[in-house]
Symmetry: C2
């Protein structure tokens, strides 16, 4: 059960400079015949940016990608689902390196130019024999397009593939960006991980690409929460092939960079919101805005405190307009709050006005808003001008069922 | 459903310097006949210490207690359940002041010497007419003892009264301390609040009493979590009548103070653990220890990260030995962690040894531990010497049911 995808999958073009192939290796249990490995090959001038989990317990592929990111160049990425290659010690790092070597051999490229990501069970060594057998033939299968199969191959417990596309004009050239993502943070951490891969034909210098990705991740993936946990494997990579033919973008803050910045942010937000809609057990999609905060950091901290509160999330599940829990979450967020200035809206309904129950508010007004499947919560702190919006889902019986009973 | 009280209620003596009475005011709905108001009167030399919620959205009685604490003296406390007098604006403060005036009139004492606490529904003005009628006759009913009735009068959703008693020798005199508590943090915030009241016949200067209470709260009430939320009304007050006849204790760090310090800490821990055992929906009592941390603060932060993780708590509910979730919670805690040094025990079973699955560990070993009702999780960071233990409960379907469906 999940809120579900709000709209049909976008139509996705081939993207100059990228070729894809997928394979069914049976990584999880040796038996499944669904695709669980993705290989992407990239043209020689491709630049790369990456953002990774801040979890101190991170998986081998995360460590390897961090090393290889220093060059700012990439020729490919190999991704498997079904096994996270996390908490696997020195063998895990050797396996991650071998995955890139196998991909490099299949593509006749240097292994140092290949990136790698894994998602799935923690603490189990990768089944390298099955991965070797799966990657070897892919060199002959690489082709433009195939984004839907790619997005499906990286899924674990996702109920639908997550894809987004945007186009824009950069230096007089039309550029395209395609993004795919899987999994919802630590929603199901033994089948863990948020992975996101963005691909564009724009020509962008590595440092500029890194800045744009970091900003997009902050306003997208870092603005969602399902249960507040953070995976060992979270990875976002952005590859730019340069085939669109624009002059190389060097300054992420130049006026001409704005269309590309908007594309990165919009794709990160679109994919992030799909992850929330696919949250385990989620039945409601919730937009939380905190405005009037003293600083942007405090606006985010307060919004996340509301979005992560189990009491707010269970109230959402029960369609209970329990505004006291929302105010209590704000008060406990560790940010500047003046209780006598706080106002609170559920949807368009003003519930609390400057610290007091709003005149004319009645429980049934709030209940009508909370009965919906798409719910907006807005808090005005009236202390400054900073605001922030984050997205979350409700906390339901299905979440408990999925997470309590998954392995046993 | 809760884990339940582990042992019979202690036998509780009268305590020199304190007289108690309770009343049934019908505060919540005007109808209930169960006691919902407690009045305690204290001898003239009584000193007082207090610790309050850090939630910026705090209730009127919290604000009033903070003001009156500056004198360090008390003659009484009045407590109601059924209504939190929170988010009630200026009327809320006027009502809190009036409650102390009514108590003062009943006891023929100055109102500034009376403390006040409230717990219950947020955002609804106190029914002052019923409270006036309830308090007025109590002056004639004050009597030593009656601790059980007192602990019952302050309950809201608690399923059992929480009481603890300790004795010790201070300056050659036997001193006694009795504590009572209710509610479990923000477990059910519209019937909110952790309230704790400690009473002793020891003779202690206000500043020393304050230090002892703060330490006790830190190692007791601040070491438990049910859902990570913090109430608008959390209050802990410690009253010392001085009737035991010891020489006034001025230095909380003097060797002679150790017995009293131990009593405060033991009572805070005992009451805190009973609150966890009475957690909504709780079926397991969980002890989380993080050892080998770089600093005490980091030990606590890591232990709380484990205890607050919804994924760990749902795994506990499902008796799932999902050690990957525990390591991921530690890694995301924001403290120094070296993944290759981490070790993890479930009960006496070594699961992860220095970053790798322990030799000989099998899933059924962990599953046997997790099947119990009392579960210990221990993580060794191997980075330093600091350690910390906190207590929590599992996250169950009953929690969702209670909190999603409570008001609607």
């Amino acid at each position: 059960m999940a809120v579900g995808r709000p709209q049909p999958l976008p139509s996705l073009p081939a993207l100059a400079g990228f070729r894809l192939a997928t394979a069914a290796c049976g990584i999880k249990n040796g038996q499944s015949t669904r695709d669980d490995l993705l290989l992407v090959a990239m043209d020689p001038e491709t630049t790369v940016a990456g953002v990774f989990t801040r979890n101190r317990v991170h998986a081998a592929p995360v460590a390897l990608c961090r090393q290889r990111l220093t060059g700012g160049r990439a020729r490919g990425v190999v991704v498997n689902s079904g096994n996270a290659n996390a908490v696997t010690g020195a063998q895990g790092m050797a396996d991650a390196v071998e995955m890139t070597r196998l991909a490099a051999q299949a593509l006749a490229l240097p292994e140092e130019a290949i990136f790698v990501a894994s998602t799935g069970v923690i603490g189990v060594p990768l089944p390298m024999a099955r991965i070797r057998a799966g990657i070897a033939p892919l060199g002959q299968k690489m082709a433009p397009g195939g984004w839907l199969q790619a997005a499906q191959a990286i899924m674990t417990t996702d109920t639908f593939p997550k894809l987004a596309v945007r186009t824009g004009v950069l230096d007089g050239r039309t550029v395209t960006m395609i993004g795919m993502a899987k999994g919802a943070g630590m929603i199901r951490p033994d089948m863990a991980t948020m992975l996101a891969f963005l691909f564009t034909d724009a020509n962008v210098a590595p440092a500029a690409l890194q800045t744009l990705l970091e900003r997009g991740v902050e306003s997208g993936f870092n603005a969602i929460t399902v249960d507040g946990d953070q995976s060992t494997n979270d990875t976002a990579l952005l590859f730019a092939s340069g085939q669109a033919g624009n002059g190389r973008l060097e300054d992420p803050d130049a006026p001409g960079a704005a269309p590309l910045a908007a594309m990165v942010t919009e794709i990160c937000q679109a994919l992030a919101q799909e992850i929330v809609r696919d949250g385990e057990g989620a039945r409601k999609f919730v937009t939380v805005t905190v405005a009037g905060a003293a600083t942007p950091a405090e606006a985010k901290q307060a919004a996340m405190a509301i979005a992560n509160s189990p009491l707010v999330k269970t109230a959402l599940a029960g369609s209970d307009p329990n505004w006291g829990r929302i105010l209590a979450a704000v008060g406990a967020a560790g940010v500047a709050v003046d209780p006598d200035r706080l106002s609170l809206w559920l949807g368009e309904v003003l519930v609390v006005e400057q610290g007091r129950l709003a005149a004319g508010y009645a429980e049934e007004h709030g209940a009508a808003v909370m009965a919906g499947e798409e719910i907006a919560i807005r808090v005005e702190l009236a202390l400054g001008t900073a605001s922030r919006t984050v997205w979350t889902c409700d906390l339901t019986h299905d979440y408990i069922t999925i997470n309590a009973d998954y392995r046993t």
